[in-house]
């Protein structure tokens, strides 16, 4: 039973107040994109044993989507951040590096 802090309303929300939304920072492919790019966008997912960037919606709260960096094995949450960003913030990257020496963003 995870607990994640919504960066919009500051609530430490438990999982039942949230809706999971899959991998974060996917790049939408429009009709100009190649079939390979489209397949990648629609189906290929990072599925790491370890640090994962993912989407959550504070569905039973403020309704906002936010992003989280979480370890898929230990469940450690390195941080949550607003969704209006196309890459994880540098600060968070630094935090993860400090906690997981040797880890590099893909």
């Amino acid at each position: 039973m995870l607990i994640l802090t919504c960066p919009y309303c500051g609530v430490r929300a438990e999982e039942t107040e949230l809706a999971p939304g899959g991998e974060a920072h996917l790049k939408r492919v429009d009709p100009e994109g190649s079939p390979e790019a489209l397949e990648e966008y629609l189906f290929h997912r990072a599925n790491p044993k370890g640090v994962h960037f993912e989407r959550w919606r504070h569905a039973y709260g403020c309704g906002k989507w936010f992003l989280a960096a979480r370890d898929t094995v230990s469940m450690e949450v390195f941080g949550t951040y607003p969704a209006q960003i196309s890459e994880p913030p540098q600060e968070l990257i630094d935090t993860i590096r400090a906690r997981r020496p040797g880890w590099e963003p893909v």
Partner: protein, 985 residues
């Protein structure tokens, strides 16, 4: 025999007798008794039958770890199987019955399995019952099922209530023994928010029964003082009768609160599930005593030494008068002292260790108790109760040196720290060679959401078994060395026991797993502890291996020639103690099972014969039954009346989402396949929404409200999903677009007023000009109807003249009632969802969920007209260009008419010639919607057919499950009024 002594028993109130029954026999105990103590007090040592061999069994333990004394309790709606007698508080009128025997506890036919036990070793069923094939299902399996199982299956719904409770704290202390109390005192004094939970009805754990001395005072006095101090702290909450059941990720803890004062069927809940979120967990769950493995160690009268002490101290109950103590450690000596002090005879302490010394051994010698070091029990004599023991040397094959007549055997194989809570959330345990147990590895604890350890363990659970040690560990102080002599890692007695004895030496009492079974598993290559456990079922009984795990591991290690740490340990899974399913379900039963969404007109519908249909969480009238009508008759009447006169549909469940902002048009152009930005204010347009995978997801009418505002209607089931979908894209992809949305679904009641008389009835209400000129088809207007503020949309899903009127939800019923009143003269009738479906099918309109199933794209449905050619992009456009989506072989929408006018069955498939590569009949199409059309008096259907639109007039074959074939002709999906003339009234 077992009996109650004339004095003693700190937990019972001898002034309050309590009547109960066991197997129909009236008995009596005292307030404060458990069922087990009360049964022992009346010489009922035989309490049940084992799982496999139906061996007679008595109580072994004091608490939740009890494997044998499981009872059927209560009757009717309060009946409960498999209740542990050791933790069932005795209450007036309690009805208990023992389990797993026929015809009676004393005489059990199933015991024949025991005589055949030689032919039924672990895993025997994998090796036999193979031939002939049907025999497994018809003969062997029914027999095995009937002889397995424990308690009876309840027959009725539960007569009690349950509920949840959310709690939050900084520190959760699980266990109110000495170490737990100390930990709560320490963290409480630091000002933390502390929650201290104890599974028993009293504080202090074992210390009081054991008569320990703490900080120079009696345990009783120490505990009372600690509890008083904790109760005085505002930041500490203490609660008894709450068992911590599981520790989960991120500091989530489940605990079950029993309410001993609850009366069956009473107003309070029977149990309450606490859902606790805590910063830290301090597990102080104590330790669990292990049995010793010797032949006949399951005969009633053989008990754990600590349990025997507890029954004496807590309830004044003994199995006696002669008890032999058998042990591999110092702790069991206390049982000998306690029994002696109560006037019982202890003819011998059988100590498997070579001669050793410690204060307690010295005290035993001083008290004149005979001790036989280096000795073992070769065999326990007796059947349904112990009559004596044969003593042999531990390092022997079991030849008896002497026989001692006795009534009871108190055994102790040492204690195992209760590491469950630590292990459940991912903590690792480590083997402590000197103490012969697994203890929590403080360097590998479970970590929380911040990556920091959040579970620590204190006291006996942390491997500090002696009271003085627990006291220090709980306080976070350096732990002094113990004064007891070292335990000997004796797992089987005697060491060289031959097969004949090992086959009568139990490891897991309830599941009837013997030493020989584990050895067999090892021999057959089930070397991993998980394999051995699954092969033998060791540790899988209702005590979840609390008594048997370590002994089983040791025997396995022995057989494999490996040390225990190399054999490994199994993972501890929640719950710590079995958890009532009703408690897990909480309040969600009956009317509270799931939310039921009701429209503002719901009560009216209910009073007018609504035949309900669940639609998502909504309930909607499928039809309105009049008199003796069947639903089919009602639906036909509703369709006919709507087409001929006037029908009303409660359309309030349709989603209504307001989309506003400078970029709203652009946004909707991305969301819908067709163009919405060029819709004119005051006008409506039907739109399709696809997923990024190209599949049709939702549809509905979009109305443009003003320059920068649109109102999007969605399907009833789709409102929340579509709103979430919009917010998703706005927040996470196009966050710089200036658009706000609001889900106004529940703000409005919406009524479809349908039929040739639709305009007439609205005009009677008065207030708005709804003439064809003022409100043409696919336009909307705002105003007042019957004095109610309203928006009127002139749209039609039935092909009839039709208006959808939206008013504030609070006035929906008023409008509905007015329409019924004014419409009476015009032939008004309400109609339900099925009439709606039929009328749309007669017109060839698709329905999301019928014509679509998550694999259908708009192009399949002939909806290309609703896909903008001008737009370079919309959700799903890229996906719709993939090869499988543009394949001309995709099945396309057509109408289907049976040749004989009958109704095609739901879901029927059309077949082509031959079979596919895996031998299945080739299918060339399927029915998506099928109805009897009251309007056309024949069956009509829509379907998807390969090359369908190019095959008009062809006849397809639809085989039935019965094998019969129905023939249907491909026709246009528009069955009725193809010119669309009726729209205009």
């Amino acid at each position: 025999m077992s009996l109650r002594l004339s004095q003693g028993g700190r937990l019972i109130d001898r002034s309050k007798p309590v009547k109960f029954s066991f197997n129909g026999k009236a008995l009596s105990g005292f307030a404060g008794d458990t069922l087990a103590s009360a049964l022992l007090a009346s010489d009922h040592m035989l309490m049940g039958r084992s799982f496999k061999y139906h061996r007679p069994r008595g109580v072994v333990a004091r608490g939740h770890e009890e494997p044998n004394a499981l009872m059927n309790i209560g009757a009717g709606v309060f009946f409960e199987p498999n209740q542990r007698a050791t933790v069932t508080p005795l209450r007036e009128g309690l009805e208990a019955a023992s389990q797993n025997h026929w015809p009676s506890l004393e005489t059990d036919i199933g015991a024949v399995n025991g005589m055949l036990s030689r032919f039924l070793p672990a895993g025997f069923y994998y090796k036999t019952f193979i031939h002939p094939r049907p025999a497994w299902k018809h003969l062997f399996e029914p027999f095995i099922r009937q002889s397995a199982g424990l308690g009876k299956a309840p027959k009725e719904a539960d007569g009690d209530q349950y509920e949840y409770l959310y709690q939050f704290c900084d520190v959760l202390v699980a266990g109110g023994g000495v170490a737990g109390l100390q930990a709560a005192l320490r963290t409480g004094r630091e000002g933390k928010r502390v929650l201290l939970l104890e599974q028993a009805a009293v504080w202090g754990g074992r210390a009081i029964s054991d008569g320990d001395e703490l900080d120079g005072q009696s345990a009783e006095a120490w505990v009372a003082q600690a509890v008083a101090e904790l109760e005085a702290m505002a930041n500490v909450t203490l609660c008894l009768n709450v068992v911590v059941s599981g520790v989960y990720d991120h500091g989530y803890v489940l605990a079950a609160q029993a309410l001993p004062d609850h009366l069956p069927g009473g107003e309070s809940p029977r149990e309450r599930l606490w859902r606790i979120r805590t910063g830290k967990v301090i597990a102080a769950a104590g330790a669990i005593e292990r049995p010793l493995s010797f032949a006949g160690n399951d005969i009633p009268g053989v008990m754990l030494a600590g349990a025997m002490r507890d029954y004496l101290a807590d309830f004044g109950v003994v199995v006696g008068p002669r008890s032999v103590v058998v042990t591999n450690n110092d702790d069991a000596y206390r049982t000998a002292f306690a029994l002696k002090a109560a006037g019982q005879a202890v003819p011998l302490i059988v100590d498997a260790r070579p001669e050793c010394d410690s204060p307690i051994i010295a005290a035993a010698r001083a008290a004149g108790i005979e001790i036989a070091f280096g000795s073992a029990i070769a065999k326990v004599e007796g059947g349904k109760r112990v009559t004596g023991v044969q003593i042999c040397a531990q390092n022997s094959a079991g030849s008896a040196l002497r026989e001692i007549a006795c009534d009871a055997v108190a055994m102790s194989g040492g204690w195992s720290p209760a590491v469950h809570l630590f292990s459940q959330a991912g903590g690792k345990v480590i083997w402590d060679e000197a103490s012969a147990f697994f203890r929590p590895d403080a360097t590998r604890p479970p970590t929380g959401d911040d990556g920091v350890p959040f579970v620590s363990v204190v006291g006996a659970a942390n491997g500090y078994l002696e009271a003085a040690q627990a006291l220090a560990d709980g306080a976070g102080e350096p732990v002094p060395d113990g004064v007891q002599a070292a335990i000997a890692a004796v797992w089987r007695m005697p060491a060289e026991a031959p097969a004949k004895l090992r086959e009568k030496t139990w490891l897991d009492f309830q599941n009837d797993v013997k030493v020989s079974d584990v050895q067999l598993a090892a021999r057959e290559g089930f070397e991993s502890v998980e394999h051995a456990k699954r092969y033998t079922t060791l540790g899988m009984a209702t005590d979840q291996g609390k008594l048997s795990n370590i002994n089983g591991l040791a025997v396995l290690g022995d057989a494999l020639g490996r040390e225990i740490p190399q054999v490994g340990t199994t993972t501890f899974r929640p719950p710590y103690v079995p958890l009532t399913l009703g408690t897990v379900a909480g309040e969600a039963r009956g009317p509270l099972f799931q939310p039921l969404r009701k429209t503002p007109m719901d009560a009216w519908h209910d009073s007018q014969g609504a035949y309900w249909e669940p639609v998502g969480h909504w309930r909607r009238p499928y039809c309105f039954l009049r008199g003796d009508e069947t639903p089919e008759q009602a639906v036909a009447r509703e369709v006919t009346n709507t087409r001929q006169n006037l029908g009303l549909l409660d359309a309030s469940t349709l989603g209504k989402i307001l989309v506003k902002g400078p970029d709203a048009g652009r946004f909707l152009d991305m969301l819908y396949t067709n163009m919405m930005s060029n819709l004119k204010p005051g006008r409506c347009r039907y739109g399709l929404m696809c997923s990024e995978n190209g599949f049709l997801m939702d549809d509905g009418v979009v109305a443009r409200i003003d320059e920068d505002t649109w109102l999007c209607h969605t399907t009833s089931g789709g409102a929340d999903h579509v709103h979430g979908h919009m917010e998703d894209w706005l927040q996470t992809e196009w966050w710089d677009w200036q658009v706000y949305t609001a889900n106004l679904t529940e703000q409005y009641a919406q009524i479809a007023v349908v039929g040739p008389q639709a305009r007439a009835v609205l005009e009677r209400l008065g207030g708005m000009d709804l003439s064809a000129e003022a409100l043409p088809f696919m336009a909307w207007a705002e105003g007042e109807l019957a004095g109610i503020p309203a928006r009127v949309f002139r749209i039609s899903f039935s092909g009839e003249l039709s208006f959808e009127v939206a008013v504030p939800a609070g006035r929906g019923l008023e409008l509905w009632q007015r329409l019924m009143d004014e419409g009476e003269a015009l032939g008004v009738m309400p109609y339900g969802t099925e009439a709606l479906h039929i009328m749309r099918a007669e017109k060839g309109f698709i329905m999301i969920g019928d014509e679509t199933d998550g694999t259908v794209i708009p192009q399949d449905l002939g909806l290309n007209w609703a896909i903008s050619k001008k737009k370079t992009d919309y959700m799903g456009k890229a996906a719709q260009a993939r090869s499988h989506m543009t394949d001309p072989e995709r099945w396309k929408l057509v109408g289907l008419e049976t040749l004989d006018g009958s109704v095609l069955p739901d879901g029927a498939y059309a077949v082509g010639a031959g079979e596919n590569a895996v031998g299945q009949r080739n299918m060339i199409g399927r029915v998506t919607s099928t109805y009897h059309s009251p309007t056309l008096s024949r069956g009509i259907a829509m379907g998807l057919v390969v090359h369908g639109p190019e095959r008009m007039g062809e006849v397809l074959e639809f085989p039935q499950i019965s094998g019969d074939v129905i023939k249907a002709r491909i026709v246009s999906p528009v069955f009725f009024d193809p010119e669309g003339e009726r729209l205009h009234g």
